[in-house]
């Protein structure tokens, strides 16, 4: 088994995922990342897989490789996600299916396969991603928020089912951060959303990293099934 801790992060080609991958490599983790398209991130301690997070055989193969190469998975960060802004009445079924596949089923698959590897060492930390769009019930994000509500429910139940393996499962709920995910949302909508936060500013990558740091630090072994929203939502 490798000496260094191994962190699996989904959706690392750009945005928050890429920031987290670079940050945790610098912190001394071996980071395994993935995205549908190839990544140009090349640094010692980083390994990339091209896959769709909802593709079960590909995800299983990735974890088989991780098991062979490292013999361990210590942390999973389920960052990969897609959003869609549609009035509910105009939301195509295909859009809803894509959101469910990536946001919920992808999270489900990675949790399951990572936990199988984590339970070998009777230790692990899983951090899922939700969104403030869920508690704020944002108009236009019905399906997106519903997939994240499912992720929150999954998080709480897995926290109980995996506690016996010494695996904690928590979630972070970012506010809008300036990434590709929010690029297509009209700025007026984003400003209105930020006005509903207790602290009126865009989120930064470091805000999300800070919550992840808290969930995965050694002293947080009694913290599980929790969802932390940023910005006072």
């Amino acid at each position: 088994m490798a000496d260094r801790q191994v962190m699996v992060i989904t959706g690392t080609r750009k945005g928050i995922g890429r920031f987290l991958a670079e940050h945790y490599v610098q912190c001394g983790f071996d980071v395994v990342g993935c995205s549908r398209a190839p990544s140009d991130l090349q640094m010692p301690g980083y390994r990339h897989y091209c896959l769709d997070v909802a593709d079960e055989p590909a995800v299983k193969q990735m974890f088989l490789d991780v098991s062979r190469k490292f013999g361990r998975a210590d942390v999973l960060v389920n960052n990969a996600g897609i959003a869609a802004m549609n009035h509910f009445l105009l939301t195509p079924l295909s859009t809803a299916q894509k959101l469910v596949n990536t946001n919920f089923l992808g999270t489900f698959l990675f949790c399951r396969e990572a936990a199988k590897l984590m339970q070998r060492n009777r230790s692990g930390r899983i951090v899922n991603f939700t969104t403030v769009a869920r508690p704020l019930s944002l108009e236009g994000e019905a399906v997106y928020a519903a997939t994240k509500a499912a992720v929150e429910s999954l998080t709480r139940t897995l926290a109980r089912e995996l506690a016996g393996f010494n695996i904690t499962v928590n979630a972070v709920g970012p506010t809008p951060v300036k990434t590709d995910l929010t690029q297509s949302v009209p700025s007026g909508k984003l400003e209105a959303l930020i006005a509903r936060q207790a602290i009126h500013r865009y989120g930064e990558f470091r805000d999300i990293q800070n919550v992840i740091d808290f969930f995965i630090q050694a002293e947080s072994d009694f913290i599980t099934g929790q969802v932390i929203f940023l910005g006072g939502v």
């Binding site: 079960e56 055989p57 299983k60 193969q61 974890f63 088989l64 098991s67 062979r68 199988k116 590897l117 339970q119 070998r120 016996g164």
Partner: protein
């Protein structure tokens, strides 16, 4: 690592290795015998539902290590069969071979 050919003895050994691993965490009166006839789950089986989860997860890892194949043993078909493949070591051996053969073909 390339896939290795699937042989019955290899699968049987993977199951015995899994039993060894499970027995390390089980009280003496619940330990499983390492034989083809050992009853695992269901009528006269020593495993409860959580024990079955541990067996399946651990066996998937042993199979992956031994044969280089990522296999999902708890699929819908297995769980809904009238005659559970997890009854005995022997039925489990048959089932794993079936899954690995399917996986080879896939």
């Amino acid at each position: 690592m390339s896939k290795m050919s699937v042989d019955r003895q290899g699968v049987f050994q993977a199951i015995l290795a899994t039993i060894d691993e499970l027995n390390e965490t089980m009280p003496d009166n619940c330990k499983l015998d390492k034989s083809a006839e050992t009853r695992l789950f269901g009528d006269q089986g020593k495993l409860d539902s959580l024990g079955l989860v541990n067996l399946i997860v651990s066996l998937e890892q042993h199979v992956a290590d031994q044969f280089g194949l990522a296999v999902t043993l708890a699929d819908e078909k297995a769980l809904s069969r009238k005659s559970s493949p997890f009854r005995t070591v022997e039925t489990l051996t048959d089932y794993v071979i079936e899954k690995l053969t399917d996986s080879d073909n896939g």
